[in-house]
Amino acid sequence: MEPNFTSLLRQLFQIMTVMISIGNSGFAQEPYTPERDDQVLQQLPKTLSLNRDRMASIREKLSVDPTNAALASAAAAGYIKMGNDESDPRFYGYAQSAIEYWWNAELPPANIAKIRAKLKEKDHKYKDAIADLVALLDRQPDDTQAWIEVINLHRVVGDYDAARQSIARLEKLEDEKAIAVASIPLMAATGKANQAYETLATLDAPDLASWIAATQGDIAASLGRFEAADKHYREALMLNSGSIHLKRTYADFLLDHRRPAPVLQLLANHENDNGCLLLMAIAAHRLGKEQLAWKLKSKLFVRFDEIRLRGSQPHGRFESRYELELNNDPKKALVIALENWKIQREVRDARAVLESAVASKNLSAAQPTIKFIKKSGHEDIALAQLISTLNPQ
């Protein structure tokens, strides 16, 4: 162990701040009467105000005709978009309500089945989502969108064989664009990153421009071509400036490359999103803005607390990183990361395991994950560095 004076100082500072902030009990402040009538209590998602009338009218029609699949899927799609735009999961609940009639149905109409799978995916119930899509594709094997979704889910859970088999089925439909969209992320995750990158460059799909640029960014970052990655990410953000997912990905990239300063600006107003809140807290911490870091960290702590209170669990990918980077508890981070690894197996999930294994010096716990990465052939320089730290040759 190399003694690190600054980290010691930082720890001391943390202890002091914790001692000062007495009684952060993890629950809401005492209710009060706001002083002025024009005090803003809550900013609403723009999409909510913009679409209020449209959504209200759809919902009204739906309430008298709840088995109308066209109406239901329109309402659900609208709410899913709001949920994505605002990263506020309550809208996924509203969407679920719109398709409630079919929620437990064995064979719902195709549109409803895809929405149901999407909502299950949002809730991290990947296996259930896959089952819904597989059941749909058994009946309607020409649904390219469902194929793309199911291939993506197989990749997310790390079942690359199933993903490849599904791609083989999709290829029969001879939709070049769909095949590319479905297979490129899989190629990138299974040792064909260069090929995936080149295919993206030749893909002629203006409607997918933002996705193409973002995926190019992911692959370039994985391969260590950081300048190119930065360029791609910024291009993607220019094309789709509202995407929280994209902002989060880019913010993560910036943190990886020791550029915490722009992160706070990039993610401002997205504290609603647990991932954004986490990255902001890390950025503030790295910038030495301890007070801000503390505020953001506390907010995240309370958020996790309230999630547990409703009988759920925070997303392991975020909670693990919170424990590792903000709470100095690598052992706990590792436990959470390993639990998350059972469910989700993307690069970030692998990193959560390996980083917390390195920090807690637990070589053996990381071995199954390392074996998985090696078997898949994933080329990611961050993962490769972590693996060589854990398994020095």
Partner: protein
């Protein structure tokens, strides 16, 4: 400590066996579904003996969906806008909540609207005045708020009576709950955390070793630098009782301080200090360096061990509302676990206290062994690497 009422050590042995079985039969449930924070409302009910207080926190975003509170549609909900809709908010909310107190239906009236923030945004707070003024023993709640537009919505009931909080989750599949002021589920929470406390002592070798190194000299007396066996069981028992009690008081203090987050220390520091405390205690059995009695050592180091217990308790993922009960239960569990150790150790030690074997092999060699293990732990914990696997 209830130990004073325990007449014989046979009884302690029986308890020890029961506790051991309870600890072994513990099963850990898997983690519940992953989720982001979706829509929740918070129904805070205070049911003290004299009066009943009900407060309902409803997210402004949900009110926007249900009623439309952003009247000028500028995307900002102001206090003025919210106040203007108070009647509609109250009517909608009250039509989705039914409550029975001791089987009598209870009507509500909204007396006041306030505001607060939770981690996901602003909430309107309705203070409800019940038609039945006095508190009750049996509560029944039927809740249907927002379920028709959001099946993932949850109503979180935070019930507090006599300063003991309990939480209940209302969902579309469980929209009715019944509970009593002095409730069984409180009891079950207590039992759960007691089990966790026992379990932690059971698997926490460091606490066991610390306790044992404190207890080793209890059946002996040091006279002119020589260990001599005690004559009777009673003084040995009393000295053990003193040590365990003081240790309990000390670690209860820091456990409380840490869990309430008044003081938090990095777990590595705490774990290292715990290892260090074991080395010192074990060494003190060989060379009485500390010129203080065993109970004083137990107190000082008990303060450190309390932080260690707190880390475990916090790792269990506490929600702040069940904090008090879990803290209490966990503490009881830790005590039971300790008693089990004492119950096994003390009669045995007392039986063989007069033998050379006890003084040499158990006390001296045992202390050396304990100090060695603790030294390895200390190295591991300071250096943050693993030598031995427990």
């Amino acid at each position: 400590m209830k130990a004073t009422t325990l007449a014989s050590h046979r009884r302690i042995l029986i308890i020890a066996i029961v506790v051991a079985f309870a600890a072994i039969s513990l099963t850990f449930s898997s983690r519940p579904a992953l989720a982001h924070k979706a829509s929740d409302s918070y129904l805070k009910i205070r049911g003290d003996q004299s009066e009943l207080g009900v407060q309902w926190h409803i997210a402004i975003k949900d009110l926007e969906l249900l009623i439309g509170v952003d009247s000028n549609r500028d995307g900002d909900v102001t206090w003025g806008e919210l106040k203007a809709k108070q009647t509609e908010i109250a009517a909608h909310a009250l039509s989705h909540l039914k409550m029975w107190l001791d089987e009598r239906p209870c009507e509500f009236e909204v007396t006041e609207m306030l505001f607060t923030e939770h981690s996901d945004g602003g909430y309107a707070v309705l203070n409800l005045s019940p038609s039945v003024s006095s508190a009750a023993e049996a509560f029944k709640i039927e809740y249907s708020f927002l379920f028709d537009v959001d099946p993932t919505h949850r109503g979180l009931v935070l019930f507090e009576a006599n300063e003991v909080p309990a939480t209940y989750v209302l969902s579309p599949t469980q929209s009715t709950i019944e509970f009593n002021a002095g409730d069984a589920s409180l009891w079950s929470a207590l039992v759960d955390y007691t089990k966790e406390g026992v379990w932690h002592i059971w698997i926490g070798f460091d606490h066991i070793l610390f306790l044992i190194s404190l207890l080793l000299p209890a059946v002996l007396i040091r006279k002119s630098n020589q260990w001599q066996p005690v004559d009777r069981f009673k003084p040995a028992f009393r000295s053990v009782l003193k040590i365990v009690t003081v240790f309990t008081i000390a670690h209860s203090i820091t456990l409380w301080l840490a869990v309430m987050q008044y003081v938090t220390l990095p777990s590595r520091l705490v774990e290292s200090a715990i290892a260090f405390s074991i080395i010192v205690t074990a060494f003190n059995n060989l060379f009485p360096l500390l010129k203080i009695p065993g109970w004083a050592i137990a107190f000082v180091f008990g303060l450190i061990h309390g932080f260690g217990f707190a880390n475990v308790l916090l790792d269990l993922g506490l929600s702040s509302m069940t904090l008090g009960i879990s803290l209490f239960g966990f503490n009881i569990g830790v005590e039971l676990g300790q008693l089990a150790i004492v119950a096994v150790f003390l009669p045995l030690a007392f039986m063989i206290r007069k033998t050379k074997f006890y003084e040499l092999a158990v006390l001296k060699l045992g202390s050396i062994l304990i100090a060695c293990i603790a030294a390895i732990w200390l190295l591991e914990r300071v250096g943050n690497f693993e030598i031995i696997g427990f």
